[in-house]
Point group: D2
Chain length 381, copies 4
């Protein structure tokens, strides 16, 4: 077995944002090697993009199906594929690889529609290949430490989960100004029924559940689109009721001027409180009831194996978004190698999978249902 | 006319928190002088408290009605009274002074019940005396500057108002441990139907409206009490729809471990965003669309007359809660002197009055109604 | 004995900054009452200023000597006097009151010249009256807590004391633009030989010693004036060697653009480190060796009697510069009352006195000597 | 020409810190490929380390000289080598590669001794190969933006440069506890005459000069070792005089408890001030004289091509230490490719080279000379 996992990519041609992120994340710890790609929707752009990445011409494909078929047959064909297209392509692409036993690392949200999501879930179930969903924020070291603290009872029984994800890059009608990133994200055909709620709300929802260990029982949502002409929500206010009695709110916005990537999670229990701001991800703020607040630093005093495993360098040397993303790729690599070896995956792996993707879809769906019913409480399916 | 306004106080005996704050606020700028008091509910404690404050024995009263009657007759009787009792005493006390032409400076919320609120509003209307409600956060210099910025159009049309007020001092059942402050605040008979929503939610609601200039049209609320046995809400999640189309959320909590007095206001418009954290009140964060965020400091570059009027010392020399409270007393003094002189009050005064108090009561009432109807949207009366 | 101490003031007429601060500080806790003043250097301005403050005309004086003489004879004459003039007037004014048994609360630095300082020290020694020097930063609650922590050994043996005090208000030649505050501070005749080093460097020096409990043995200084035409230093770099082996640096500047009142103290010992930023004075940052950093809040968890004694309101409700200044007045009041009663002052008092003033003068003197000798190490006299 | 530059490595075997950083930095943007290594000082550890990195056995060498000789002859031999050994090995290793035309990317400080530094400078001069010194902090995007702002005159004529670099990992005698990183750094034979001043002081010195564009004319230093038995300084206070009249201080420490990697640069000019904290590297704080402070974010509003070129992802998605290091590798790649093509390197490259290394050695040397002369001002050679 070679040192690196052979990786293919669907989407992520020139001009894309997240494709480049996946490539860096895959490369950062030297666990993957990009070997093939169906990088764009037109043959020319696919070839240009492949060449720009140094891929050999015979491993650059015009479409993902052709790639899946041929790579599955090659002796040194790809072992895993990263799917980094707009949402509506996730299912059709993932299906082709899953059914040929090629592991799938797929961008979130799971799909554009619930119907597709169910089909994808079934495809994943029926395949021996793994399905990893890149809710990348779950793989920040301090998030893993926070999760371990909650699971270890350091906060006591949880009462409140407050999560927000505020951006401002869609404060103006960027989709009308030709910004590609804005175009598909505000197009129901490509994104599905959720705008901000699908693009970033699902991240916030997933992260809150990941750290708290709680599942949402019901929610009441107020979705809105502030920019005239926009077809999908660019702001959402959501009240949450968790199974077991905790409550919370989720706010996501793409029109909050001054917010760049303002994902922030706060969790309060009977015995303590936690706060983590994504924009300063190397710090976790913890207050034990009746004691001063502590600033816990990545890989610093008071952290344990969860943070250490995901830290490359000492505290004070900031790691960030790309390293967090790479941590998820690291877990994917470990899981894939275990699957190939037929052994159990290491117990410390916690990458999100298809069930997390289904939960995210249920969240989008519930938000849309609640909002249509003027914010009535609805159960998560 | 003397240099200082002669002030009486109802409530605020030893052991109280807010009474001492009012006294410092009244004294700080030398515009008031405490001359009389009905400081406690028992004659002994009233006398002890009066003596401790250096009041002459004949100006210390067993009850507020006696004080109102006698002081109104004295040549050097009090010109104004501060009412700093639990909520249910606001109306009975205020009535006695208002009807005798003594100006009233009253703690929030307006009253414990809507019925009392309406009577108090009528009493205030029928009196020549002024009624000032101490929503003290409105008088922080940077809040005044923020208000002026919004009014001046620097944020463009508003879209979002996010306000939160999180504390943790009621994370445990302090009312059962004999903490007086906790006792009356969690007692419906003394506080009214709102717990955290009345105690701090009204502050957040008032501040959001004060700065944004917007009024809430409808809200959906989820009130909850996390501490077993507690009779009033200690946490509230509220979604807001403002007249004119802006939306927002209000979160208040008294069980969020690690939060001391976490009042924070964020306002986003088409052209800019603002953030103000009460715990670092000398800074206002402003982002014009497409430009870097600016840290505007109290009385520093870029501030105007609103902040300057309320600043005693240069930027970098922090002013805080007591100074903010004193600013409101300063406005009260100016308004009282104008009323006494029969002249119009200076146009820059913006102290909250009985209408703001009524709005706060409507907010509490709407929260209670909505929460009982499982978070349905309800109109503010 | 009355409730309040009768206070006079020398200097502090209209247009002055620090006079107003002293008056608020004296009034805030109701321990003092301004009864007389020699507020300005010309009779007219003295009278106008007196009237503006509501002083009766017969207690407004044209000069401080007349005030000292008459007030000492009055039955209800002042018990204490605040001296808030430019530095060169401190000694002549203080002398008149000290020799008549009137307690002196005097602004820093002690005097403009070392000769005057020695005379003032002698006058203070020979008087029964107290001399309190308003190094106000020593009276912030978190500074008292920090001092107690160091004294209690929580940092272990100290190694490093890093203190800085950076401002920017003299980045331009404000003294040529008619700013009164700038005028006398850059005039050797009124200020003495030290510019920034006297005005703010002495504060930093004093605070470092106050908290660390260490005394400087020797220093090496590089004083400089950046603004063309300025007659006194507007920036100073100083290396410090403390008795006992600790080392440190002191930087003060009045030309550091973007710094408002950037006094910041950091102390490092074998077992822990402390940081306190004056501009956010309600927080003290403490790191025990090998543990996460803690944010200790004023009057919050983990603080003791030193902070509690100087806190009026709960944590999260910011107190600031004026409250810190008032704390010093509070200690003055307690010391004065004890002196009047002939009893020992309470042991918890730590206000700076004439010896601290002498130390500050020795610091200025050493800086000037070292700088003239091109930064050679010089002993503090 | 292949897509990636073939890279060798000297040092960086298992247990090392900086070797892993170089490998990630080289890989992150896919411009380099590790092909050979002399990774450790014993043959076994060298082989183990090589195997762990997936190097073929015939490209793993027992010593760097053998590697240089053989790789220079191979058709696909390495084009560049990263030298990540303790300081005393920099020169002997670099020499072998430089004289064979293999580009050198070398860790700082340049060498352990001035004699070696001169020899290395000569070797670099005589070689056609490039020499890149990894003062990695120069390649943070906001540092490049700061440099451009200063060069563009946005701060006006500079007055002050305040730089500090505080850590705490040597607060205890870690070298006696078997920590390898501490061992060689506190050993004069391996590190040279400077302890903290060489390890981190040179970074601070270099960064200050890089951004300010100023060169130090003279300095006065107070070096000290606080930990008993330590053979090299673990703390240094340095006063700086820049050519042209600016002044500054440099503080570096490895015993400041609570400081992790506290590199912080502040620069003040006549027209503005800048502050950059390495631990939150995505923000640059800029104050134009008389205006509010701005928080400039990496790749955000107000930044130009310098920051954009070094940003992989949008603002709000934090990049950190590894990305900064990778930026330097990116410049190395561009310079190497230009050298191989015989073309001029792109004008925007600003990687530190042998002259910067010589300046750092002169700084260490001056600090040692000054400190021996009790802090006398000494010229930089």
């Amino acid at each position: 077995m070679s040192h690196r996992i052979r990786l293919g990519m669907v989407g992520g041609g020139s001009g894309a944002f997240i494709g480049g992120v996946h490539r860096i994340a895959a490369r950062l710890d030297d666990r993957f090697e990009l070997r093939a790609g169906a990088l764009a929707s037109t043959p020319e752009r696919a070839r240009e993009s492949g060449a720009a990445l140094g891929l050999p011409a015979d491993r650059v494909y015009d479409d993902f199906k052709a790639m899946a078929i041929r790579e599955a047959r090659l002796k040194d064909g790809i072992e895993a594929v990263a799917i980094v297209t707009p949402n509506h392509m996730h299912y059709p692409a993932a299906r082709e690889f899953l059914k040929r036993g090629i592991h799938v690392i797929c961008d979130k949200p799971l799909t554009a529609t619930m119907a597709d999501a169910k089909k994808l879930a079934r495809a994943a179930e029926q395949s021996d290949a793994l399905f990893i969903l890149t809710h990348n924020y779950t793989a920040y070291p301090m998030i893993r430490h926070a999760r371990a603290m909650v699971a270890g009872g350091e906060l006591g029984a949880l009462r409140l989960v407050q999560v927000e994800y505020a951006q401002d890059w869609l404060a103006e009608p960027m989709e009308e100004k030709g910004l590609k990133q804005a175009g598909w994200r505000t197009d129901p055909a490509q994104s599905g029924g959720g705008g901000s709620i699908g693009d970033i709300g699902t991240h916030a929802f997933n992260l809150a559940g990941f750290v708290s260990g709680l599942s949402v029982d019901a929610l009441a949502a107020d979705l809105h689109s502030f920019v005239p002409g926009r077809r999908l929500d660019d702001n959402a206010h959501v009240m949450l009721r968790y199974a077991g009695g905790a409550r919370g709110t989720l706010w996501c916005s793409q029109v909050a001027v001054g917010c760049e990537n303002g994902l922030r999670l706060r969790i309060y229990g009977e015995m303590g409180g936690l706060e983590w701001p994504q924009e300063e991800p190397n710090h976790l703020w913890f207050t034990p009831l009746g004691e001063p607040t502590r600033r816990i630093t990545r890989n610093g005093p008071g952290t344990g194996p969860e943070a250490a495993r995901f830290s490359r360098i000492p505290p004070g040397h900031p790691e960030g978004y790309l390293e967090g993303f790479a941590n998820l790729y690291g877990e994917a690599a470990e899981a894939i190698r275990a699957a190939q070896a037929g052994t159990a995956p290491p117990p410390e792996l916690h990458y999100p999978g298809v069930q997390d993707g289904m939960a995210g879809m249920a969240f989008i769906d519930a938000c849309l249902r609640s909002s249509k019913r003027d914010g009535a409480w609805v159960k998560l399916a």
